[in-house]
């Protein structure tokens, strides 16, 4: 500030650091100071590992499918209930999970509670196997499900509190790739673990039980991360005075209906896009074998491309979105590219490696550009509810559409299935374009590039500072000055000129 003019404060604003507590020792080092980037990234590891256990255990049944079927003497249909008991309750549960997070527990306690549920569920699951009680295993999966999805909501909320306005998109990308890492590690580890245990115990349900306890170990690790996160978050809140800006408002369940239109559009995109990707992968194997003449091994490889690519690409793409901003633009681009991929698969005989690789990239792009937008729209005290709600709707969509897609293939074949998915993507595209239009009409806050956003924040900061000044040196109105002058010289003022009541007159209160 070179030349003080009338608008600039005469007294410099107190720098915000003055009333912060002094950090000493290790706490002052970059690794422990919540104001520093390094500390944030250490916390990021905790956030990522928070969900590692639940993703690892979620796919335990898939990794041990043949063993579970053999040891528990169940057929494929019954085996699949292990997944049904997880998914269907979550159509409702993670909405309430998110709400409880906002309203009752708060994020720290909520995270720990959900981690406990995950751990308990996996323990029950393992005990069920050990006692050769399949119903107990199903119950375990149910308890596990109560925790699992809500924990993902908590993870999102943590990510937003720590990284809003910074590396949020990348963090969402990293979370996505960690979920893939979790399930991949599980797929590769569980079967050898089972083999290894069986050399000591011999095959049978007892071995299965022991193997599942390994999964419980990863849940314990996640719980530990949850506890650490709670501690660091509380500490950071104290140091950064995060609570100072809070209004103390509490969310009510009915607030959901007051979420802005843009939020609903994002939910539509979320459902319409995800149902065009995951149910397709679920049915893809036969499609690749038959249409493209691939043998079962390469068909499987093509089918899992989206998962593999998203694990690698999403942090990178998240970083790009962070650097450029323009989230809505990226979302629309991702939908368009996926649309093109599905068209390629539906209408051409081009090598499916091309389409599926591109789809992997566009899926990652969408995942890391879409979810953070919610943080721009919804106030922080409602974020858990918002994310929970989105996830609920998404779960519902995926569950219903998977069934519908299966029967479409059975009755009308893959071409119509692809057309069905294209229609969903078109719906997502429409929602994306509407989101852009509505946002553009309101000034384009969501689709700002990063530098615009920074500039706006700076401007807001300045405006806020200026307002602070105004509050401190409240300028007298001409009216007040004149009356003050009159009263100084002892002139009799009419009643309504009384300086204390005049403000009412102007607002028409006493008139």
């Amino acid at each position: 500030m070179a030349e003080p003019d009338e608008k600039s404060p005469l007294v410099a604003r107190r720098s915000s650091s003055e009333d912060e507590e002094e950090l000493t020792g290790c706490a002052a080092s970059a690794a422990c100071d919540p104001r520093r980037t390094l500390h944030r990234f250490l916390v990021l590891w905790l956030i990522c590992f928070l969900s590692f256990g639940s993703y690892f255990c979620y796919d335990n049944p898939a990794a041990l499918q043949s063993q579970i079927k053999k040891d528990m003497h169940v057929n494929t249909g019954t085996f699949m209930t292990l997944y049904a008991w997880y998914s269907w309750p979550n159509v409702v549960l993670c909405f309430f999970g998110g709400f409880l997070l906002d309203r009752v527990f708060g994020i720290r306690l909520g995270t720990i509670i959900f981690s406990l549920f995950v751990l308990a569920g996996q323990c029950v699951f393992a005990v069920g196997a050990q006692l050769n009680l399949f119903w107990l295993m199903e119950a375990g999966r149910f308890v596990f499900g109560i925790g699992g999805e809500s924990l993902a909501v908590a993870q999102n909320t943590y990510a937003v509190t720590w990284f809003r306005g910074k590396e949020l998109n990348m963090v969402f990308g990293l979370q996505l790739s960690f979920s893939r890492v979790g399930s991949t590690v599980n797929m590769n580890v569980m079967s050898p673990v089972y083999q290894w245990i069986s050399t000591y115990v011999g095959e049978g349900y007892t071995t299965l039980g022991y193997a599942l306890w390994v999964g419980a170990g990863t849940c314990l690790l996640s719980l530990f991360c949850g506890l650490l996160l709670g501690y660091y978050d509380k500490r950071a809140a104290r140091i950064l005075k995060r609570d100072a800006g809070k209004t103390g408002e509490v969310i009510r369940i009915t607030d959901v209906k007051d979420f802005p239109a843009t939020f609903w559009l994002i939910t539509v995109i979320c459902v319409a896009y995800y149902v065009a990707v995951f149910p397709f992968i679920g049915l893809g194997l036969v499609f690749f074998e038959e249409k493209f003449d691939l043998n079962p091994t390469s068909a499987n490889a093509v089918n899992s491309l989206v998962y593999i690519i998203s694990a690698g690409a999403s942090p990178v793409l998240g970083f790009i979105v962070d650097k450029t901003g323009k989230n809505v633009f990226w979302v629309i681009l991702a939908i368009l590219v996926t649309l093109a991929c599905h068209m390629m698969l539906a209408f051409t005989f081009w090598n499916p490696y091309i389409a599926m690789s591109i789809m992997g990239v566009s899926y990652s792009l969408l995942a890391c550009a879409l979810w953070p937008i919610v943080a721009f729209i919804i106030p922080e005290n409602q974020l858990g509810t918002a994310y929970g709600f989105m996830q609920s709707i998404q779960n519902l969509g995926l569950a219903v559409i998977s069934i519908v897609a299966g029967s479409i293939v059975d009755k009308k074949g893959y071409l119509l299935l692809e057309v069905f998915f294209l229609a969903w993507l078109c719906l997502a595209l429409i929602a994306g374009v509407l989101l852009y239009l509505i946002d553009a009409v309101r000034g384009g806050a969501l689709n700002m590039s990063t530098w615009e956003r920074d500039a706006q924040e700076e401007a807001e900061e300045k405006a806020k500072a200026a307002q602070d000044e105004r509050v401190r040196f409240k300028p007298r109105s001409a009216f007040a000055l004149r009356n003050r002058f009159y009263s100084r010289i002892g002139a009799k003022l009419p009643d309504h000129f009384d300086i204390h009541t005049s403000s009412f007159f102007r607002r028409g209160v006493t008139q």
Binding site: V286, F287, E289, E290, K291, N295, P296, A346, F347, T348, F349, W350, V409, D410, K411, K412, G413, Y414, L415, L416, V419, L422, A423, C426, L427, L429, I430, V433, L434, L437, A440, V441, S477, A478, F479, H496, F505, R506
Partner: protein, 439 residues
């Protein structure tokens, strides 16, 4: 090679699209297909004892079924028979009134080799095309490494089932002359292998049509009154290996006119609407210069359970078409009763194996069923259905429209706001400062 294949595939895809539009226009213009009068007769004109009962040496019935499809100007004769190896003979005549004559004495009472001329179609000058498909052998092989590939050498091959040495049930019992269907069901009489058929059988279910449509069962092949469809089924035959798979040998003979050639075609389609999960169509056609005289058409899919669904479908593999010498034609078939000189014929053979890696082989369900059709003229071609076209055009048309209008709206808005800003600039304030109001 690969590039040209790719190009052909793309071409096929686009030609389907153009075909779709053709379909649309033809729907408006009207359909010019016609139907034939189709009838089915069992052992026509036979009054010797061999026809009445299973009086021959191994209790086998002498089944011969005549399917006659009479049109306005021509007629097609199909003769299905299990006298000898199961065979279908197709004769097309340019006469509406042509007649099939079977010399039963000659066919059933003479020893092998003497049956030539036992089946004739009169008037002979009206016969313009004839061919036969002989179902010769069933191979069984042990697919230890689950490669689902018929072995090149004979490793893992079991002794083949010779379909000429089967005991066939009475077709007449299963025949329905109204719905034009019937079953040839048989068990082997080969020594050491009879026990494998204790509860099992091999069967051909034939189905002729007097209208044009698509069959109600998977794989929903198209049918016309020019053709007969058949389901070939191996049901509950005891497999000889732990990973047994079956394959069938088809022999194909047709008269050898100048400019005639037999081709095996694999057609690719993007549309699997009628047979979910199957994108190919195989056609074994006889072409005379540019005209298709006859066809055998099938989809590379078979079913491992009686009730056909996509879940029990498994692919079939079609091997290369090979030339046969005259010795390759089975000695015992009605084709030899119709065609008098085997040397003047085109003779081809091909194998079709059932199942694919990972489906658990025949052993999983002890059931395999496969469908094909044999017909005269050009095979019915696959078209995109109206449903698909409508869904695609609305599904993709609406969003394009919305995006275009949205873009237009944005452009207008931007122009408006630019104009608005200009106007704002031009507007000069009458009163620069706030006015104080004293009430």
């Amino acid at each position: 090679m690969a590039a040209s294949r790719q190009a052909r595939r793309v071409y096929t895809c686009w030609s389907r699209f153009s075909f779709a539009f053709f379909v649309l226009t033809s729907l408006v213009v009207g359909n010019d297909s016609f139907s034939r009068q189709v009838s089915m007769h069992y052992n026509p004109g036979c009054n010797i004892t061999e026809c009445q009962s299973s009086s021959n040496d191994n209790n086998s019935h002498s089944n011969l079924v005549h399917v006659l499809a009479r049109g306005n100007r021509d007629s097609i004769h199909y003769v299905w028979s299990t006298i000898g190896a199961p065979t279908v003979l197709m004769v097309h005549t340019t006469s509406k009134e042509s007649k099939l004559t079977v010399d039963w004495e000659k066919l059933l009472r003479t020893t092998k080799g003497g049956i030539s001329g036992a089946i004739t179609v009169e008037p002979s000058n009206a016969v313009d095309f004839s061919m036969a498909v002989i179902f010769n052998k069933i191979w069984e092989y042990e697919d230890l490494h689950d490669k689902s590939e018929l072995p090149e050498d004979n490793t893992g091959m079991f002794e083949a089932y010779d379909l000429a040495q089967m005991r066939w049930d009475d077709f007449n019992v299963t025949m329905n002359a109204t719905s034009l269907t019937g079953n040839f069901t048989g068990t082997t009489t080969q020594s050491d292998m009879e026990s494998l058929f204790q509860n099992g059988s091999i069967s051909f279910k034939i189905h002729a049509f007097s209208t044009d449509d698509r069959s109600a069962d998977l794989p929903h092949l198209q049918y016309t009154s020019n053709q007969t469809q058949f389901d070939f089924t191996i049901d509950s035959v005891e497999p000889r290996g732990n990973m047994s798979r079956y394959a069938m040998e088809l022999t194909f003979i047709t008269e050898d006119k100048k400019g005639m050639h037999v081709d095996l075609k694999k057609l690719q389609s993007i549309d699997d609407e009628y047979t979910p999960g199957v994108f190919q169509l195989f056609e074994l056609t006889t072409m005379h210069s540019d005209q298709t005289e006859s066809y055998v058409q099938w989809k590379p899919v078979c079913y491992t359970k009686h009730t056909r669904t996509m879940g029990v479908a498994t692919p079939t593999k079609t091997y290369n078409l090979k030339d046969l010498d005259t010795k390759g034609i089975p000695a015992d078939t009605i084709a030899r009763a119709y065609f008098t000189n085997m040397d003047s014929l085109q003779r081809k053979a091909l194998n079709i194996s059932f199942g694919l890696t990972g489906d658990g082989s025949y052993v999983a369900t002890n059931f395999t069923s496969w469908t094909a059709s044999v017909g005269y003229g050009a095979p019915p071609s696959e078209k995109l259905s109206l449903l698909i076209i409508v869904v695609i055009s609305t599904g993709l048309g609406i969003p394009v429209a919305i995006i275009m209008f949205g873009g237009l709206f944005m452009c207008c808005r931007r122009k408006d706001s630019e104009k608005g800003e200009k106007e704002k600039d031009e507007y000069t304030r009458v009163n620069g400062s706030e006015t104080d109001v004293i009430n």
